[in-house]
């Protein structure tokens, strides 16, 4: 989409007008609705810099990022850490940019494609934990989709990126993608509330655990959540999670915490059942159990981590 002004192109090296930090551009990381993100090096430290066509859009994102990071418990990182906000001149025009912590990782859908769908519930539970914090601080993520979630390379942690859609509770969601948008699925409006994010999350879960062909088949007009329910019914890795997913489609969760504990209970229950089965001597699905075991260990680690953080 164009919206008139092109995204300004960053020079290979530049210095901020106010804070005088020097950046070397390494490569472009990606483009969102509001601008482009580059990997840069600043004093030998890698950072991500975002620049957009409209300075106001960039400033609004910074505003959301800053508000999200405020709060008593800043240790719980929901957003990439903000490092710098400044201007630079490109072709004589003053452009606003911001620098944030660089998260080295893989886009959520690519990660799942590589590691397998066993990971999906684990990643979704991690995401729910992030959303719990974000919602507690009075914000809704809005534009939740695999492209806006990264799994870090170092420690397989889920992180939200691109805060262009982050909206204050009770306002109209600023930015969304129809594929994950509650209103486009005829399942409610676009008022920012925890249930809006949970809806997107549930659609995303179905998408991540389905083959591209199956997913494509659900994309008939008009969009209807009954199509998603059909996919869940026919998918062995989604079926155990049908209750929380369908509750999220119908806006029956007041908050992410509730959905998280439902998901957790299912993962733990399933793992225990499988292990008992294994103990009783039917070791035929060893690889699958191995995957689940890893997943449950990670989950346990994650839970302990969050329990410690809270």
């Amino acid at each position: 989409m164009s919206f008139n002004r092109a995204i300004p192109k960053l020079p290979p090296q530049f210095r901020g007008k106010w804070n005088q930090k020097t950046y070397h551009v390494l490569r472009e990381l990606g483009r969102g609705a509001n601008g482009a993100v580059y990997l840069v090096s600043q004093d030998g430290v890698r950072r991500a810099v975002k620049i957009g066509a409209e300075g106001m859009d960039i400033l609004m994102e910074v505003h959301a990022l800053k508000s999200v990071q405020q709060g008593r418990d800043a240790r719980v990182t929901v957003a990439p850490l903000l490092c710098d906000v400044d201007d630079l001149y490109i072709d004589g025009r003053s452009c606003t940019f911001y620098a944030m912590e660089y998260l080295d990782g893989e886009q959520l859908d690519q990660f799942v494609q590589r590691t397998g769908t066993d990971w999906v519930p684990v990643l979704i539970i991690q995401l729910l934990a992030r959303l719990v914090v974000l919602h507690q601080r009075g914000w809704v993520f809005g534009d939740l989709k695999p492209e806006n979630v990264i799994v870090t390379r170092a420690d397989s942690q889920v992180r939200l990126i691109d805060f262009g859609g982050v909206t204050k509770h009770g306002c109209a969601v600023r930015q969304f993608t129809e594929e994950y948008d509650r209103a486009a699925w005829h399942a409610g409006d676009r008022r920012a509330e925890p249930a809006y994010d949970l809806f997107s999350l549930a659609v995303m879960t179905v998408r991540l655990a389905s083959s591209p062909e199956v997913w494509k088949s659900s994309r008939t007009e008009p969009r209807q959540t009954s199509l998603l329910c059909d996919i869940i019914r026919n998918n062995d890795s989604l079926y155990p999670f049908r209750v929380p997913l369908i509750k999220a489609f119908h806006g029956q969760y007041a908050g992410a915490e509730e959905m998280k504990s439902d998901m957790l209970a299912i993962v733990q229950g399933r793992t225990t059942a499988v292990q008992q089965k294994k103990a009783s001597g039917s070791g035929s699905s060893g690889i699958w159990i191995g995957g689940l075991f890893v997943a449950s260990m990670l989950l346990l680690a994650g839970t302990l981590y969050y329990a410690w953080m809270m």
Partner: protein
């Protein structure tokens, strides 16, 4: 601060105007009356052609708004995005002007980025809480026919977006050319568009695209504006009495 009313005309078209006053002149007049004009070009495949693209850009520039050229399936999302961005821009301009009066020239650029972030937060909040009146102006000349289903979906979708705002919002939908006038009011001012509404029924399909005259008539739908006498005689007859204090009314099909 008192909540302002933001007024926008959103033109949805697929080609050049070919009748009556220049749409760029009409957009200039709208802007003069405090109405922003946004334009979306809808294309089936390829592009609009140089002439069509140029006109769309010039209408948006003259109308102080934004434009985009998209495929029918992108229409719904584009309507929401364009409207929001144009709102932000209008409020930003007002805020900048006020800052300029207080702080002197280049006020916004002269502020340290930290302060500007605060201004952005304020602009965002004002945008959310402002009253918003949008007239959607749909080109219904022959070539638009295959795209009208997408337009109809976009109208309904936009109604959901408006309903989700904290500020009061109203929309009206018109098609042009109209049967007698340059435009027909298809949905009078409303806060919620009925899903059953059919845009395609009873449409006047013709080869004429009077974009300019339609914009002029659309200006008259904003009751705060009194058209100059000359223009009122020519275009003002379609004036629509406001649905008393924004109460819901049945749609005219």
């Amino acid at each position: 601060m008192k909540e302002a009313t933001l007024r926008q005309i959103l033109v949805v078209t697929d080609g050049c105007s070919n009748s009556g006053i220049s749409p760029v002149a009409a957009a200039t007049l709208a802007r003069e009356q405090g109405i922003t004009v946004n334009v979306i070009g809808v294309v089936e495949k390829g592009d609009m052609g140089e002439q069509g693209e140029k006109e769309i850009r010039e209408i948006a520039e003259a109308g102080g708004g934004l434009f985009d050229i998209v495929y029918p399936q992108q229409l719904a999302q584009t309507v929401q995005m364009l409207t929001r961005k144009a709102m932000t821009r209008t409020i930003h301009q007002v805020v900048s002007k006020e800052l300029k009066e207080i702080l002197g020239d280049s006020a916004m650029e002269g502020l340290v980025p930290e302060k500007r972030v605060q201004v952005a937060g304020m602009v965002d909040e004002l945008g959310e809480r402002s009253r918003l009146d949008v007239v959607m102006l749909v080109d219904s000349s022959g070539s638009m026919k295959p795209k009208l289903a997408a337009v109809q979906q976009a109208i309904h979708d936009f109604s959901i977006s408006l309903r989700s705002r904290s500020g009061q919002s109203r929309m009206a939908v018109c098609s042009f050319p109209g049967k007698q006038n340059h435009l027909d009011v298809r949905i009078p001012w409303t806060e919620e568009v009925d899903q059953a509404h059919q845009l395609t029924s009873g449409l006047t399909m013709s080869g004429i695209t009077p974009t300019g005259p339609a914009i002029i008539e659309a200006i008259a739908l904003f009751e705060h504006v009194k058209l100059p006498t000359g223009l009122r005689d020519r275009y003002g007859h379609n004036e629509l009495e406001d649905g008393d204090q924004g109460s819901l009314r049945d749609h005219v099909f």
